[in-house]
Point group: D2
Chain length 233, copies 4
């Protein structure tokens, strides 16, 4: 399968294990609408069991799983088969998230498998040293979140974001950088994109908001505003 | 959700990572028909991403995942949320398969989560000592396969099967025992049930057969023949 | 090698990774003296690299490692070879501590290896369900600490201790029970032994005390006092 | 502690879990003599429990453990504390060997801990992609063995060795490269060093030889011969 091209700036809705089934589908449909309205690429992460259904009922989203394994068709119990998720409509996967760290050799092999199947890789690092190492593997997207900020509603400071953007690009210029640590307001969204990130997004800042769909809409709209402002400069 | 009752002797089709998407669905539909025709409970294991679709398009199968995690609704990237699979129509999970061994405390916690969500647990052990330990946790079903036979097409000998059946029942009388190591012929199926197993099934014996659906039908039919013969005794 | 017999009530000094080198040796020598003076069996856990030296320079202690692996003589990088530790004077090992949980099959295999080498196994469980499962493997000693109390200075309540003692003994009457969660005063020591534990001990309650050797002496002495009182009853 | 300087070409005796206790000590003493006689740096890997004793009874060897953890002084059961091994005389550690692969974030943190304690890091990669990623972390030494050759007595071919040497040096010029896959003859030793490796060594090629000490001597001598020949060119 041919890997989908990503247009920056993009957005990433990552409900982790907060949402599943109907609720996940509802937010996905809203995100799908926003992707169309604002002409923006949106990664939407799903529980594996929801991937097929959400892929079927949406048009624009990049259906994304939160981890994938390197196994091949054959034996192996309970692992995430690349061919299987691809057939279900999945187009991207997170790898090595701080909440799902993997072994060095496993990361290398799984990225090779993703390449074979045309699956976009969003690789995560929780320090600049780790980001540099992983960047040599040329993932499509990288996330560099200081582990201690995940889930806190605190954003990485501008200097950290600039530093990680540069560290990644110095090693792998084509890798897009996602800055999403603690994003919960449109000011956070603006700051992330203005500091040079190729994408931003959130988890608790969206799913734990009073009105998740409204918050999501504001955030996505803000990304496109900054995008348009940056074009004019 | 209320846990589904299992009627012995049952059958288990475990395609592991051999099948996914359309091919998995096709075999599942055939198994579903057999479950109805022969009035037998059939566990059918799926890739997570296929669970929803197969659950929707079948009526009788016990949709089974090959592993599950203990996490709860909230954070956590890339794990198998019990609530999520349950909402997608999954009714059972394998745990601690030799190809996916887990930690002692993780097994205990995941079995508690399965109980909360009404998910049937098929717990695996690869030695009699391990079987006895796990039986204290009173899983719904236990598999006791000598690891060295998995995927070989060699069956456990009758004495091993009887020994494990007894070891499990001595600790947990209500736990059903699945003997499925290397089952590839109807003679293997007969031997497993006659030696006292509550269920049998297969992986490569079915999916690698020249005509998987035909082989599956013969095996399921044989289980019901032995069932009827045993009733008459 | 023949496995050493343990005499209850025993004591366990578990410095974890708080002490190493000279400081560990100093506390070990003090514990060794106490073992002699009070005629009591004392498990003393060591960093692997300190095992040989502490074994050489003490006489009475049961030199104990904090984890062991199941590998056999041959390949394998960086694991704890049973034959190797045994040759260095180690007589016991913790297994499956809450800070080092292991897989079910690994626990079974490692306990078999320990048996082969005559190494005493102190197996840990962090719930009653886990304790019952592990007790079927008949470890020499079991620890049942509610994970949430470890390192807190809070002791398990008497009812929890009695419940775990009974749960273990019901399954494996010869297994000795060590109650050591949050032990930091001689009152805690007394309570543990009076509630039926075969042994008690501590980590932070000793190594973080103002005068560790003095605290250790008081605790060991208290165990022997309770021992003598119980004999008289 | 100040990290020891390594002089290339060096040799590495890696008995893995083949040797322990007296036998390990005996080979270590022989290697120690050779290090002196041939004025060459020799890494000698040990079972943790043998580290102190071998360090005490040798003068020239670089006492090396086969894995190390990132934990700090305090809690933590059964892990390898950097401060502890350093105090016992250990000067180097392997990390991420194919027989002990570790997580990306664990590798990064453990290398930081090694730096803090002045412990030489020998980092392993089992593919060129992995080698490049790890080289960004600037380990002191790197091993690039195609996993499939380990323990086979087959050496990496010259082209693979040259390719990995270059891949590592391109990213981290000061990192020394150890080529040790399947080294079992003096011809293998010569080829490794002539192909540009900074060091070579072996496991089964030495410990499973009819006369390990004699084989070791021949290999070490050959390294120094090639060293002297290369100087003259």
């Amino acid at each position: 399968m041919k890997k989908r091209e990503i247009r920056a700036p993009f957005f990433c809705v990552n409900p982790k294990a907060y949402l599943y089934g109907e609720e996940a589908l509802k937010l996905a449909k809203a995100a799908d609408e926003l992707a169309k309205t604002f002409d923006i690429d949106i990664f939407f992460t799903v529980q594996y069991v929801d991937a097929y259904r959400i892929a079927k009922e949406t048009t624009n989203l990049i259906i994304t799983v939160q981890h994938m394994d390197a196994l091949t068709v054959g034996a192996g119990m309970g692992y995430i088969l690349p061919e299987g998720i691809s057939a279900a409509g999945v187009q991207a996967t997170f790898l090595n998230h701080a909440e799902h760290p993997i072994k060095v050799n496993q990361l290398v092999k799984t990225m090779q498998r993703a390449e074979e199947e045309g699956i976009i890789v969003i690789a995560c690092a929780d320090s600049i040293a780790e980001a540099r190492a992983i960047a040599t593997l040329k993932p499509d997207v990288m996330v560099c979140e200081p582990t201690e900020l995940i889930g806190t509603g605190k954003v990485s400071d501008v200097s950290y974001m600039e530093q990680t953007n540069q560290a990644v690009k110095a090693v792998s210029p084509k890798t897009l950088v996602l800055q999403a640590a603690g994003i919960s307001t449109i000011a956070d969204v603006r700051q992330a994109i203005e500091s040079g990130a190729d994408g931003t997004g959130g988890t608790s800042g969206i799913v734990c908001a009073t009105d998740p769909i409204h918050t999501l809409q504001e955030m996505v709209e803000e990304v496109t505003k900054v995008r348009d402002e940056l074009k004019e400069r």
